[in-house]
């Protein structure tokens, strides 16, 4: 029973026809490809008329398969699938081959381009004969959403959804929500106080009836798929009874153990063993750090337990696993600062007056350890000259190739704050100043006006090795001023390193748990860099904020809101379609060798111990086909990309190559066969 194949070759105006002889390709298809009953070329296949042509041919000519040779299937596969559907043909009996992007646009010689187009059409037509009708699948969407990360992007996403009446579970790893923004002093370019604009959002989230807030908690495991994820969350032991604690703060006040706060204060200040990271923390429930607590060190003290008016201290509290069911997940896990000790020539960690940007934020912050006084590490000297070094660990193939995006503006902000608070001479060492958002360039202009000494040059080293008398006691910044072409040395009192924004240390592991991928740098990969920046290749998992790539506060807020909008759309629709491109195992032929079992990163393959066969859980399968090619017995079938389809495609693609010799009935044996 032969298939009836229709082949349509698009001119795309002159985009294709200007290089490829489309009529010749159509003629080739009708004359040389078996089972092709219709072959046409047409000006614009994607136009209404082009689509109608396909529909009508399906009806009139009884086409059972359709090939469209035009642009990329990523652009118009859906269009022509719809056309097939309209004509009464299962949409998965269509194949599109790309003779524009992959052919007419990239080849100079018209003859070669036409020949290649023929091969592509031949491959497609051979393949399409083996395609099978498939039906898309639909599942219900659970209206609850999980947001991972309580920084500004996660908070925005949470509030958008909660305000729209949807339930949200917000998970934050640290004791309080707020993220890095809570650490900042001022925000550029408006210089409004970071805490003033952030804390209202934090308390709104803390009190929202639709939000279940889990702080000091981490994502443990994600199973299921779009619409129905099942999530395990590890609630780390606070050692404080969350329900009994009133947040009075007596325990913190009376705790005798002080330790350096490397988290919120970036090592610039101290905190207690039982602590709230900062006064405006949400929730207002302290956390006991068992590593510094005297009780956990030598079973003494118990001050907090004795003094707590509501008896909320629980030394024996253990981690707890909380399980929730959600329909969608928004990942907004943010970033970590670059470790500046990785660039030893900048002296961080060795030279006392070299600071990281985050250290300077705390130094500058009125709520910080020096109450906002900018002084050197001796605690009293006000710097008279300060060097700010851009691109530390960014735009550097030895560390991170990307531009961290925000450092230029943050450096300008620092320069302004320094001038305002200390009147110091500020040098800003840059490669390029990047101020490409609203009002950013104006801010740069303002700093030029304020007298910042901008030096164009990547700093080579920061040293205490003096060469001249005026360098004694100073920290010397050595660099080429590329605008004068001279090597210069700048003795200063303080150096601030604008370290790169890096992906969270566990970004890859979290990505693996959720089934989303990272770029080389470690930022999560979006579904489309321009047109779908907050979705991922895994349906139902969205990303927002810096975990997707370096960005500033406004952009993080936009992405948080955008991700929420995408999720809200899913919830409103209530159902979600799943492409039927999945693997399946012929269980009767499976011998249970278990080679395929760890091929699947989505755990879509399970092993049935009783029957000793492996099986694909269709709802989890994403259709990559890796297990199909791993199966040593060849009993895994990959729908829409099965072996017979691909073999036929290879054969079609090589229609003009020398065929294999030595098969019975062909040339050589013909000499002796009698017929």
């Amino acid at each position: 029973m032969a298939e009836r194949v229709g082949v349509y070759v698009c001119h795309c105006g002159s985009n294709i026809a200007g290089k490829v002889d489309v009529a010749d390709v159509a003629k080739f298809a009708s004359e040389h490809i078996k089972d092709v009953v219709v072959a046409r070329d047409y000006k614009f296949m994607c136009s209404d008329l082009g689509q109608k042509m396909v529909e009508e041919d399906i009806k009139k000519e009884g086409l059972t398969r359709v090939v469209v040779a035009a642009c990329s299937p990523h652009l118009h596969e859906k269009t022509f699938r719809r056309a097939c559907s309209n004509g009464g043909l299962n949409p998965y009996l269509l194949d599109m081959t790309n003779i524009r992007e992959h052919c007419s646009w990239v080849h100079k010689d018209p003859v070669a381009a036409t020949e290649k187009a023929k091969s592509l059409v031949s491959a497609s037509a051979e393949r399409v004969k083996f395609q099978q009708p498939l039906e898309p699948m639909y599942v219900d969407v659970n209206p609850t959403t999980l947001v991972v990360g309580g920084g500004i992007a996660g908070l925005q996403a949470t509030l958008e959804l909660a305000d729209a009446g949807h339930k949200v579970v917000l998970v934050e790893r640290l004791p309080s929500i707020g993220g890095h923004m809570a650490q900042f002093d001022k925000t550029f370019p408006t210089l409004d106080c970071s805490a003033c604009i952030l804390t209202p959002k934090m308390s709104e989230v803390g009190q929202h009836e639709n939000v279940r807030l889990l702080t000091y908690a981490e994502l443990e495991e994600v199973t299921g798929s779009v619409g129905n994820f099942h999530v395990k969350i590890r609630q780390k032991a606070r050692k404080v009874d969350f329900d009994l604690c009133t947040g009075c703060g007596i325990c913190v006040e009376k705790c005798p153990r002080k330790v350096v706060d490397t988290e919120f204060e970036a090592g610039m200040g101290m905190r207690k063993a039982i602590y709230m990271p900062f006064p405006q923390a949400v929730p207002r429930v302290p956390v006991l750090d068992t590593e510094s607590c005297i009780w956990f060190e030598r079973q003494r003290c118990q001050t907090c337990e004795k003094l707590c008016p509501t008896k909320a201290i629980r030394f024996d509290q253990e981690d707890e696993i909380i399980e929730v069911d959600v329909g969608n997940i928004i990942i907004a896990t943010g970033w970590k600062p670059f470790d500046c000790t990785k660039i030893p020539q900048y002296g961080y960690g060795r030279l006392p007056n070299v600071y990281t940007g985050m250290e300077f934020e705390r130094l500058c912050n009125a709520a910080g350890p020096t109450s906002g006084k900018i002084v050197l590490r001796d605690g009293k000297t006000v710097p008279k000259s300060v060097a700010i070094i851009h691109c530390v660990g960014s735009r550097d193939l030895n560390h991170n190739p990307y531009c961290s995006g925000i450092c230029c503006m943050a450096a300008l902000k620092f320069a302004h704050l320094l001038i305002e608070k200390t009147g110091a001479q500020v040098y800003s060492f840059y490669i390029d100043i990047r101020t490409n958002q609203k009002d950013y360039e104006e801010f740069y202009q303002r700093l030029l006006q304020e007298g910042v000494h901008f030096v164009r040059g990547k700093v080579s080293e920061v040293t205490d090795a003096t060469r001249r008398p005026d360098e004694t006691g100073k920290t010397i910044v050595q660099c080429e001023d590329t605008l004068t072409g001279r090597q210069e040395r700048y003795p200063v009192d303080m150096v601030i390193l604008m370290g790169a924004l890096e992906p969270q240390f566990d970004a890859r592991e979290l990505g693996l748990k959720c089934g989303i991928s990272c770029s080389m740098a470690g930022f999560y990969t979006e579904r489309h860099p321009k047109l779908d920046p907050v979705a991922t290749m895994t349906d139902g998992i969205f990303i927002a904020g810096v975990c997707q790539g370096p960005k500033d506060i406004p952009a993080s807020v936009v992405q948080g809101a955008a991700a929420a909008a995408r999720v809200a759309g899913m919830i409103t629709k209530g159902k979600v379609m799943i492409e039927p491109i999945v693997a399946s195992i012929r269980e009767e032929d499976c011998s249970g060798c278990r080679i395929c079992n760890n091929m699947c990163p989505y755990n879509a393959i399970e092993f049935d111990e009783t029957r000793a066969v492996s099986r694909v859980i269709t709802a989890l399968c994403k259709g990559c086909g890796t297990c199909v090619s791993a199966c040593p017995a060849g009993v895994i079938e990959g729908a829409h990309f099965n072996n017979s389809q691909i073999f036929a495609e290879i054969e079609g693609a090589l229609w003009d190559a020398v065929p294999p010799a030595g098969v019975p009935g062909e040339s050589e044996s013909a000499g002796v066969s009698a017929s």
Binding site: S72, K116, C518, S629, E651, L654, P660, A661
Partner: protein
């Protein structure tokens, strides 16, 4: 061996998410490259079965390209590593069978790397051109002596092989 008129026939298996899109991008950016690679789309480089490569070579391809997302960037998280493992295993075997390693190349190209993919295609085509045709079907064909021997036998046993019609 490198004959200017020789235009290698090459089959390229490109993953749907990165390298196929890189080829799309090469198109939108009009980055011209050699027309010898006939592209077959697979969902993931992890779908590329060594059988596909052998099939292509046995059907007359002079070279094969396998292209996927960069290691660590796979849209299916880590399946391109499996493609890489299979690639090295296949290369190990092909080498032992006398297929030059430049004929089968594994390429990483992200969706943003149209230029890189075009360069990789040009390089593969140049490499294969330098090697000359693979001609595996010719490789199967027996030498002239087989034909002569058969002719001898046919002549000797004419009667036995004659079919009465």
């Amino acid at each position: 061996m490198s004959d200017d008129s020789f235009e290698p026939k090459i089959v390229g298996f490109l993953c749907n998410w990165c390298s196929y899109r890189a080829a799309d991008l090469a198109g939108t950016a009009r980055i011209s490259h050699a027309p010898n690679v006939r592209i077959i789309r697979v969902m993931c480089s992890g779908r590329v079965d060594p059988t596909f490569v052998l099939k292509a070579l046995s059907l007359g391809a002079d070279g094969v390209m396998i292209a996927g997302c960069h290691p660590g960037e796979c849209h299916y998280i880590e399946q391109n590593y499996k493609a890489m493992r299979r690639y090295y295993m296949l290369q190990h075997t092909l080498k032992a069978m006398g297929v030059e390693e430049q004929r089968v190349q594994l390429v990483w190209a992200s969706a943003a790397e149209g230029q890189q993919l075009a360069d990789a295609i040009d390089k593969l085509v140049a490499d294969v051109k330098a090697l000359g045709p693979l001609g595996w079907s010719k490789n199967w064909a027996e030498n002239g002596d087989r034909i002569r021997a058969l002719e001898d036998i046919v002549n000797e046993h004419k009667e036995a092989l004659e079919v009465p019609r």
